[in-house]
């Protein structure tokens, strides 16, 4: 009787486990669909004509013509992408290097009052870009940087340093100090320790920070709209609004333009996904 009781208990436990697993898979699948479907829908509509899209918006395109994509590419997307790439890469490199140096100083130096400096740097996380816009415009005009790539590169770098430093610092706290000490015994200077030992070991978190920065800089709208005025210096988010204004009724071209703008960032994320997750997971909680 006891065995029978145990057996029915086991069956019930197995059933609950299977049910939980099915629910989890169903939930994750739904979540995947919710996230991916709009992107897929946007990309597919880029292959349709305007009439086709309004006639049956959720159907597959009758043919995979890339005319809309070519049209979008030629109507400015090419320039917008080039500007976005320059601004994004420039600010990503500056942000990560400055933040890594800062994090190195905050984790490795024997500076008195270090918690105070950590507070100052990380306090920047709370600074809202919106409230700083007017003084920044004046400053950029005075410096002669208004409507240049440098305006955006400097601003993106400045506003992302606190968060990036926060992530890299957390990662560096987990790196063994023995390696620094071994390098000191080997005669390395602080700079050599940073470049040759610490920085290579921070690769996972650096990749994560670059991806997070790319996501931010690629999609940033406020500064891009305010600090650039010429079409040749507009980044993708501002450029897309221009395209929408120009081709307000030709949604197929707009969707194609949107798909083209999203493509580089999606590809970047998938290419570096492994490092991204590892970097964030290893740096969490310190």
């Amino acid at each position: 009787m006891s065995i029978a009781y145990q057996s029915s208990e086991t069956e019930r436990t197995d059933f609950a486990a299977v049910l939980a697993k099915v629910c989890l898979v169903a939930f994750l699948t739904s979540l995947g669909i919710v996230v991916l479907y709009p992107l897929l829908w946007m990309a597919l509509n880029g292959f349709k004509t305007n009439a086709e899209m309004f006639g049956n918006p959720f159907a597959l395109p009758s043919g995979f013509s890339i005319a809309n994509y070519i049209s979008a590419w030629n109507q400015g997307i090419r320039n917008y992408i080039a500007t976005s790439v320059i601004v994004t890469l420039g600010s990503a490199i500056c942000t990560v290097l400055v933040s890594a140096w800062t994090a190195y100083g905050l984790t490795r130096s024997k500076l008195p009052g270090k918690p105070f400096f950590v507070g100052i740097v990380l306090g920047g996380l709370m600074l809202s870009p919106t409230v700083a816009v007017i003084p920044l415009v004046r400053m950029m005009q005075d410096l002669g940087l208004y409507n240049t790539y440098w305006a955006l590169i400097i601003l993106y770098t400045a506003f992302r340093i606190p968060f990036t430093t926060f992530l890299i610092r957390a990662y560096m706290l987990g790196l063994p100090r023995d390696l620094d000490e071994a390098a000191i015994m080997d005669g390395a200077s602080e700079g050599q320790i940073f470049w040759k030992v610490t920085l290579p070991l921070c690769k996972p978190i650096l990749v994560s920070c670059v991806i997070l920065h790319v996501l931010f800089a690629w999609n940033e709208y406020l500064f891009a709209m305010i600090f650039t005025s010429g079409a040749d210096l507009q980044t993708l988010p501002v450029g897309l609004t221009s395209i929408m204004a120009k081709h307000g009724t030709n949604y197929a071209v707009v969707f194609a333009a949107m798909t083209l703008s999203a493509l580089p960032i999606v590809m970047t994320f998938f290419a570096a996904q492994r490092f991204f997750i590892r970097g964030l997971a290893e740096g969490i909680g310190k």
Binding site: P176, L179, E181, M185, D186, G187, A188, V197, K203
Partner: protein, 377 residues
């Protein structure tokens, strides 16, 4: 040939003093081992010698030159870390060559030195591997190789074997001993809490406790003539048994002592030492006890077996003795059979009994003659 002197070395973190007035002379080519329990300051002293910690006061002198404010890499010292501290993103070759590259050594010279060290340590086949592709023992050899290539005057080892399993630890210990033999002029300072490593490797052992040196001596000296109760119990495994006693009677040449539990022993005592009524401690190593059948004589202990640990060739008996809650350990022949609750009698040769005064210092008395007269053997 490098002499190293530590003169009144103090190290403090704020008000907390970690090292108190350390004085030590290390002769050229000596293998010195620092031992002591965790937190006794042995690693701090090693790191101070390396230059990784600043010295609060006192002088560190290497070959007559004061080194307190000299950069670690300029002291002619190499260090092997407990965690190996190999650069994980570099190959074995790059790890070993890193210091030389920083120093701007010519490539051909780097090649020659790395290859020579790799040959000595049998790492030739692994030079292009990364540390993660090596076993623990191989990583430790790379760490040693990285130290060798710099041709140091002094080698520092900070618990280098503690991350290895038991078998590998023995093998690597032997390798380190051979390495020392192959470099007789190099001074080595080795930190460990494992007394087997200390006893087998050291020319001299320095025993630390609470930031102070308790005793400096050869392994045999520390084992046979421990300076105080701490050293007596720290050196030797299992630790020396200690029993409280009181001097009950004093003649011109001897002192009669009553141990807790009622055993009486008689010691030869110089005039001026051990006065009547003085509390003392008696130390007997587990391996220096002799089990016998007789009972009732002076110097004979009687105890009841509480636990038997079989170690193959020997067995450790944990005895309950009257008058003390501490177990008394005996190392007995592995062939004999013992049972729990069995009552046994044992004694020790007079020269194997260590006497410590009320302050815990070795009174240097054994009382060999008087013991014989007392009819113990």
């Amino acid at each position: 040939m490098t002499d190293l002197s530590l003169r009144n070395i103090r190290k403090a973190y704020g008000d907390y003093e970690v090292l108190h007035e350390i004085n030590l002379e290390v002769k050229s080519g000596e293998f010195i081992v620092f031992v002591g329990p965790s937190g006794c300051g042995k690693s701090t002293l090693l790191r101070s010698i390396a230059g990784l910690e600043t010295i609060t006061s006192g002088d560190l002198v290497i070959d007559g030159e004061r080194m307190n404010s000299v950069a670690p890499s300029k002291r002619g010292i190499s260090m092997v870390f407990q965690s190996y501290a190999l650069y994980p993103h570099m190959t074995v070759y790059e790890n070993m060559a890193f210091g030389l590259r920083i120093a701007g050594t010519a490539k051909a010279e780097i090649d020659a030195r790395v290859c020579k060290a790799a040959e000595i340590l049998q790492l030739d086949k692994y030079l292009q591997r990364q540390p993660k592709a090596l076993s623990g023992g191989q990583r430790q050899r790379v760490a040693i190789g990285r130290a060798i290539v710099r041709n140091p005057r002094v080698f520092l080892f900070d618990e280098p074997l503690s991350n290895l399993d038991a078998a590998l630890r023995v093998a690597t210990r032997i390798e380190i001993a051979k390495l020392k033999q192959s470099m007789p002029d190099v001074t080595m300072i080795y930190v460990t809490h494992d007394q087997v490593e200390a006893m087998t490797l050291a020319d001299r052992i320095v025993v630390f406790k609470d930031g102070r040196i308790e005793q400096v001596g050869t392994p045999a000296e520390l084992y046979k003539r421990p300076a105080n109760l701490f050293v007596a119990q720290f050196i030797g495994s299992p630790a020396m048994n200690i029993r409280k006693a009181t001097v009950t009677d004093r003649s011109a040449t001897s002192a009669r002592c009553l141990l807790d539990g009622g055993v009486v022993i008689e010691l030869a005592a110089e005039p001026g030492k051990l006065s009547k009524g003085e509390p003392i401690s008696i130390g007997i190593r587990p391996e220096n006890t002799r089990i016998h059948e007789d009972d009732g004589r002076d110097g004979t202990f009687t105890g009841t077996i509480d636990l038997v640990e079989h170690l193959g060739e020997v067995q450790i008996l944990y005895l309950d003795l009257p008058g003390s809650s501490d177990k008394f350990l005996i190392k007995a022949d592995g062939e004999r059979s013992f049972a729990r609750k069995q009552k046994i009698c044992f004694t020790a040769r007079p020269q194997d009994i260590h006497i410590f005064d009320a302050l815990g210092n070795n009174s240097e008395m054994r009382g060999k003659e008087v013991f014989k007269n007392a009819g113990l053997f």
